[in-house]
C-alpha cells in the first residue's frame, strides 16, 4: 500500500499498520486498567479529571503520583527493551542476539549490584547499571571484532561474557550483607513497584533522543540483513550504520535496565512476537517498541493483581507471559 502526496510517498504494509493499531488499542486498555484498578478503585471517567488536576485530592494522589508514573515507566522501559532487542536481533540475524542473552543486561546488573553493595542511592544504582551495560557492550564488541563484527561471533562472545557476568553477580551477592543482598535480589528480578516520575523522566528523555536515531538507521539496517556487500552495493556503509545502531541499542537497554532492573525476556520476545503478528520480513523497530510496551505494562498489571495483595516482581510475569506466547506462536509457525 502506497500513500503519495505530491512528490512524497510512503510505503505501508496494511497488516503491519493494523497490528500496530491493535497494539496501541491494547496498550490504552491496559494503561487505563492499571490507572483505575487496585486497592482503591478510581472510576474510568475520573482518571482524566485526576490527570488534569481536577479530581478529588485522593484520586489525584493515587492516579498522578502513584499509578501514572509506574504505568509510564513500564511503557517506556518496555518500548526501549523492544527496540533494543530488535536492533541486536537484526544486526546478528539471530533471535538469540538480544541484549539479555549477549551479556548487556547482565553487565547492567553487575553495575547495579556494585552500586547497591556500595550503599548507593537510587540514582547511583541507575547510573551503575547504565555504566555496567556500556562497559560490557564495549567489551563484547572489542572481543568480537575482527575485520568488522559478524553476527554469530557477537552472539557467541556475548553468551560467553554473559555467563561470566552471571557468575560474577552471584559472587557479589554472596559477599554482600543480608540487607544489601535482599535489595539487590529484588532489583535483579526487575520491578516497577515504587517507580515515580524521577524514574520515568530520564527514560523519556533518553527515548526522545535515541528513538529518532533508531528510526534514521531502520531502513539501512534492513538492507544490511542481506549482507554487507549487498548493502554496500546499494550505497550503504555497513560499519557506520552498525555503529549508530549499536550505540542506540546499548543505551536503550542500559537506560531501561537502570529504570526497572533487568526485566528478562521482553527484549527477546517483543521483536519476535511483533514480527509474527505483522508478518514482516525480519524484525521491525516500531512494532517491536509497541509490543515491548504492551508486554511490560500487561505483565506489570498482572503482577500487581493476580495474587493481590501479594505483589510479584514484573520480571517473573514477563518470562511467564512472553515465553508462553512465543512458544505458542512458534508451534503455530511449524505447522
Amino acid at each position: 500500500m502506497t500513500v503519495r502526496v505530491g512528490p512524497w510517498s510512503v510505503r505501508l504494509a496494511p497488516r503491519a499498520l493494523l497490528t500496530c493499531a491493535a497494539l496501541l488499542a491494547v496498550l490504552c486498555v491496559v494503561s487505563v486498567a492499571a490507572l483505575s484498578t487496585g486497592e482503591f478503585t478510581v472510576p474510568v471517567p475520573d482518571i482524566a479529571h485526576a490527570v488534569f488536576g481536577q479530581g478529588t485530592p485522593v484520586a489525584e494522589l493515587i492516579v498522578s503520583r502513584l499509578r501514572a508514573p509506574r504505568v509510564v515507566t513500564g511503557l517506556l522501559v518496555g518500548a526501549a527493551f523492544g527496540v533494543s532487542g530488535a536492533i541486536f536481533q537484526s544486526l546478528t540475524r539471530n533471535p538469540l542476539g538480544s541484549p539479555d542473552f549477549i551479556g548487556f543486561t547482565a553487565g547492567a546488573s553487575a553495575g547495579g549490584i556494585v552500586a547497591v553493595v556500595a550503599g548507593g542511592t537510587a540514582a547511583q544504582i541507575a547510573g551503575g547499571a547504565l555504566a555496567g551495560c556500556v562497559v560490557t557492550a564495549l567489551l563484547v564488541y572489542a572481543l568480537a571484532f575482527r575485520r568488522g563484527v559478524q553476527g554469530y561471533r557477537l552472539v557467541l562472545v556475548g553468551i560467553g561474557v554473559n555467563a561470566l557476568l552471571v557468575a560474577a553477580n552471584s559472587y557479589l551477592l554472596t559477599r554482600a550483607n543480608i540487607n544489601d543482598a535482599a535489595t539487590a535480589g529484588a532489583w535483579l528480578t526487575g520491578s516497577l513497584s515504587g517507580r515515580g516520575w524521577d524514574h520515568a523522566i530520564p527514560v523519556a528523555l533518553a527515548l526522545a533522543v535515541l528513538l529518532p536515531m533508531c528510526a534514521a538507521v531502520a531502513r539501512p539496517m534492513r538492507m544490511i540483513e542481506m549482507g554487507d556487500d549487498a548493502a554496500r552495493a546499494m550505497g550503504i556503509r555497513g560499519e557506520a550504520v552498525r555503529a549508530v545502531a549499536i550505540t542506540a541499542g546499548v543505551l536503550l537497554s542500559g537506560v531501561a535496565t537502570a529504570a526497572a532492573g533487568p526485566v528478562v525476556f521482553v527484549a527477546l520476545a517483543a521483536p519476535q512476537l511483533a514480527r509474527r503478528l505483522t508478518r514482516s520480513p525480519g524484525v521491525t523497530l516500531g512494532a517491536s517498541a509497541l509490543m515491548g510496551a504492551v508486554l511490560l505494562t500487561a505483565a506489570d498489571l498482572a503482577a500487581q493483581r493476580l495474587l493481590a495483595p501479594t505483589q510479584l516482581p514484573v520480571g517473573v510475569l514477563t518470562a511467564a507471559i512472553g515465553g508462553t506466547y512465543l512458544a505458542l506462536l512458534l508451534r503455530k509457525d511449524r505447522r
Binding site: 575485520r147 540483513e225 552495493a233 546499494m234 550503504i236
Partner: protein
C-alpha cells in the same frame, strides 16, 4: 592491435577503470600494479583459475574492497570520493553469498533494489514501481511475486537476486560468479538474460568459471593468473591453446563452437584415458 580495453583507456570510453591497483586482504596481497578498463557497452567477463584474484578485482571495481594503492575511477572521479548512494545509482553489483531475509516475498526483495533512488520521504515513487515491475518481467519472476524467497529453487532465487540488481537501474552491472551452484540449464538461463541486458545497452561485467561460457557470451575477456592480467580482448582473438596451457595448466585443442562460432576449448585426453577409449572402440 591494441586490445579493446587498452583502446578504451586510450580513447577514454571506459566509465569504469582501475589504475595501479594493489589489492590485499589484511596481509595477504592478491594483486599488484593492476591496470584495467571496462569498455563501455561491453559484456566483459573476468576469468582465471581459482584464487587468481578475479573476484577480488571485481570487488575492488565495485568499491567493496579499498585498494591498498591506486584507485578505481567511475566517470572520471575516484570512486570512493563519490557519495556511496550516488555510485549505487550508476553501478550495481550482484555479490556472492547474499542472505535472504527471513520470510521476505519476491516482490519485497526486488523492491529493495530501489533503495539508492529513495529518500525517507520518497519511499515509493511511480518510477520505483515501474522499475520493479520491469525488473521482474525481464527476469521472468513476475508470477513468483508473492512467494517467499526461501522456498524457491536455487535457479529461481538467483533470478530474484538479479531482479533486485536490475531494479537498481544502473547503466553498469557487476556480477560475481552469477552461475555458481546452478545446474547447466539455469546457468545458461542466467547468462542468456545477461546477454539480453547487454543487448539492451548495459555495460555488464561478470566473473565466471567456465571458459567456454565466457568465450560464448563475452565481448571482452579479461584473463587473470596469480593476480595479473595475462590477456584481454575479444575472445576469438586471444583464446589460444598456448594461453589456456599457460593460464589453466591444461593442454587443449580449440575448435569453433558449432552454435556460436566462438572458441570452444576441448581438453586433451590423458594418456591412460586415450588407451581406454582406444580399446573399447
Amino acid at each position: 592491435m591494441a586490445s579493446a580495453g587498452r583502446l578504451a583507456r586510450l580513447t577514454g570510453s571506459a566509465r569504469l577503470s582501475g589504475s595501479d591497483l594493489t589489492l590485499a586482504y589484511d596481509r595477504r596481497v592478491v594483486a599488484t600494479g593492476l591496470d584495467v578498463a571496462i569498455p563501455d557497452a561491453s559484456f566483459t567477463v573476468i576469468i582465471g583459475p581459482n584464487a587468481c584474484g578475479k573476484s577480488t578485482l571485481l570487488r575492488a571495481l565495485a568499491r567493496m574492497l579499498k585498494p591498498r594503492t591506486g584507485a578505481v575511477h567511475l566517470d572520471g572521479s575516484v570512486i570512493t570520493s563519490l557519495p556511496s548512494k550516488e555510485v549505487a545509482r550508476r553501478l550495481g553489483l550482484l555479490p556472492q553469498g547474499s542472505i535472504v531475509p527471513d520470510g521476505i516475498t519476491v516482490a519485497d526483495l526486488v523492491a529493495r533494489g530501489r533503495y539508492p533512488h529513495q529518500r525517507l520521504m520518497r519511499q515509493w515513487s511511480k518510477a520505483d514501481e515501474a522499475a520493479v515491475a520491469e525488473a521482474m518481467r525481464a527476469t521472468d519472476v513476475t508470477e513468483l511475486a508473492d512467494r517467499i524467497v526461501d522456498e524457491l529453487s536455487g535457479g529461481q532465487r538467483q533470478r530474484v537476486w538479479l531482479a533486485m540488481a536490475l531494479a537498481q537501474e544502473t547503466p553498469i552491472l557487476l556480477l560475481d560468479e552469477p552461475t555458481t551452484f546452478l545446474d547447466i540449464s539455469h546457468q545458461i538461463e542466467v547468462l542468456d538474460l545477461c546477454a539480453d541486458l547487454h543487448e539492451a545497452g548495459r555495460t555488464m561485467v561478470a566473473v565466471l568459471h567456465d571458459l567456454n561460457q565466457a568465450c560464448r557470451y563475452a565481448t571482452h575477456l579479461i584473463v587473470m593468473r596469480d593476480g595479473e592480467i595475462v590477456a584481454e580482448g575479444d575472445p576469438a582473438e586471444i583464446v589460444t591453446p598456448d594461453l589456456v596451457r599457460s593460464v589453466f595448466d591444461l593442454r587443449c585443442e580449440i575448435i569453433p563452437d558449432p552454435q556460436s562460432g566462438t572458441p570452444l576449448v576441448v581438453p586433451m585426453l590423458a594418456n591412460r584415458t586415450r588407451r581406454r577409449v582406444a580399446t573399447s572402440a
